[in-house]
């Protein structure tokens, strides 16, 4: 019989303790910890893997990134220019296929050439819009020298 009342007393006590804790949060609006995403954006951490970016002007066209990519997300085409240097005419990264493994970043022999940006908002309506184009464009055969203007990397088409 004492066991019966003891059980009942314990149940009431523990229920009231729990409800006392929840009501503190229930009536106090300052306890909210939600950051409302589109208005408040969190700064991504230092080693955040966002969208891939290529600094095409210092790219040597070695194709190490395209060869190591496990999902074949990188399409890379190179030609030799008049200085016998490899020129990446096509450098497409398919963000829809990228798995953000970071193998290409590790494989890249040039310091700070292929790296992850902190950008993570690049959703699009079609898969084609998700491909970012970094290539320098085809070299016309009759052109002896490439003008400085054309060496500028194309702007990313997707925002």
């Amino acid at each position: 019989m004492t066991e019966y009342f003891k059980k009942m007393f314990n149940a009431i006590k523990s229920i009231l303790t729990g409800m006392g804790i929840t009501i503190k949060y229930g009536v106090n609006p300052k306890t909210e910890v939600t950051q409302q995403y589109p208005e408040v954006k969190r700064e991504p951490p230092d080693r955040f893997r966002g969208k891939l970016f290529v600094d095409i002007n210092i790219c040597t066209g070695c194709t190490a990134c395209a060869r190591i990519c496990p999902v074949d997300a990188i399409t890379l085409k190179t030609v030799r220019d008049e200085n016998k240097k490899l020129r990446p005419v096509v450098f497409d990264i398919d963000n829809a296929r990228c798995i953000y493994c970071g193998l290409c970043v590790e494989a890249c022999p040039v310091e700070h050439c292929l790296y992850f940006e902190k950008k993570y908002e690049f959703s699009a309506y079609t898969k084609d819009e998700l491909i970012s184009h970094f290539g320098l464009g085809e070299l016309k055969p009759q052109e002896g020298r490439v003008e400085e203007k054309k060496l500028e990397p194309k702007k990313e088409e997707v925002k």
Binding site: Y4, M8, I15, G18, M19, I21, T22, I23, Y25, G26, V27, P29, T31, E32, V33, T34, Q36
Partner: protein, 372 residues
């Protein structure tokens, strides 16, 4: 409302019988549409309130995107549910499957009828009001079993059987603790019960303060009524982590919404019953016999009634977001080993109190001491 209808009918005494019939039918349809609209608005806002309370308690914000403060969230939810595909399983018992949500909703909606919202605002003045509510809300358990059986799904059937076992078991402490209160005004009429609780600053003659037994009966009733409406510490009929969604696993779109709205309707009804029987109904506290216009008094009374009901509903939500779900055996143990014996004890105690003190409450006895 009844007086208004009687008035119209007596004025039409000389009209042709067919016109009188049509007028009566029109009155019935219009009044039920008004009540249905109010009930649906309440049910929509209750789902919004539930999500906001959940957000507050879990240190979140809750819905805040649709409309100001997210107030139109329930409209968006309703539109979404209406646009959903209406799926009836191929092997379902179609007749039972289709009719079950309507019966659940009708039963929970019909329980609004005998409630008294203020001295002059009520739908029907039933002399068996409390009995009517208890009877009509028992239909819900039958309809739940119909839907569960008709779905031809093992989760649904388990959920339905659990629901019936739970509702039928918890009906006993509910009714016994209500009886402990009813024997004092000795009436089943909601308006008589509220009228009995007038006076005493509008608080101290509430039946909950009438004697120690009704005080405990209120808490037993409140716990048992949470189980009656299948809310969280007792939500084993629809326990998501065990049996998907219980008896409404196979329901989609508006048919599911009927079950959902019936739950919130039942919450209102059990809270209103607790308010009427234990917490003085629409008696305005502290103002005594101040003379005021009838319309103002009615508005205040409605506000007081809804305030008390919403306070009880808030407590139900607070309990829901605090306590974990009981196991089936724990649920039955709570009902049969704890609530039912105490409810019987309360009933006997309250009966003896009424017999010995001729229905006088604690407040009457204390004020009686000062008078002599």
């Amino acid at each position: 409302m009844t007086e208004l209808i009687n008035e119209i009918i007596t004025r039409l005494a000389n009209a042709a019988p067919i016109i009188r019939l049509l007028v009566v039918i029109a009155i019935i349809i219009v009044s039920s549409v008004i009540v249905l609209a109010v009930a649906l608005l309440y049910e929509g806002l209750a789902t919004y309130a539930e999500r906001k309370v959940a957000g507050d308690i879990q240190a979140r914000i809750g819905p805040n995107r649709v409309g100001p403060y997210g107030l139109l969230q329930f409209v968006a939810d309703g539109v979404k549910l209406l646009l959903k595909e209406d799926i009836i399983p191929f092997y379902a018992d179609k007749w039972l499957f289709i009719i079950a949500p309507y019966i659940v909703f009708t039963a929970s909606f019909a329980a609004f009828v005998p409630l008294s919202y203020s001295e002059h605002i009520y739908i029907a003045n039933l002399n068996v009001g409390v009995l009517y509510i208890l009877a009509i809300s028992s239909v819900v358990s039958m309809a739940i079993l119909m839907g569960a059986w008709g779905s031809n799904n093992k989760w649904s059937l388990f959920g339905g059987m659990r629901a019936v076992a739970q509702i039928v078991s918890y009906e006993i402490p509910t009714v016994l603790s209500l009886l402990a209160a009813i024997i004092i005004p000795a009436s089943l009429n909601m308006r008589d019960i509220i009228a009995y609780q007038s006076g005493g600053l509008g608080i101290f003659r509430w039946l909950i303060f009438n004697n120690p037994f009704t005080f405990f009966a209120f808490f037993i009733y409140f716990i048992a009524s949470i189980a009656e409406v299948n809310r969280t510490p007792f939500d084993i009929p629809e326990a998501e982590s065990e049996i998907v969604a219980g008896y409404h696993t196979e329901y989609t779109g508006m048919r599911f919404a009927f079950f959902f709205m019936a739950e919130y309707g039942d919450m209102f009804v059990v809270s209103a019953l607790a308010t009427t029987l234990f917490l003085g109904g629409w008696q305005i506290p502290f103002i005594g016999n101040i003379v005021m216009p009838i319309w103002l008094k009615d508005i205040l009374e409605v506000a007081v009634f809804f305030g008390k009901v919403f306070l009880l509903i808030y407590i139900m939500m607070w309990i829901r977001w605090t306590l974990p779900r009981l196991r089936v055996d724990q649920l039955m143990e709570l009902c049969w080993k704890y609530l039912t014996p105490f409810a019987f004890f309360n009933l006997i105690g309250a009966s003896v109190w009424v017999l010995l003190l001729h229905g006088k409450g604690v407040y009457d006895i204390i004020t009686g001491l000062f008078v002599h």
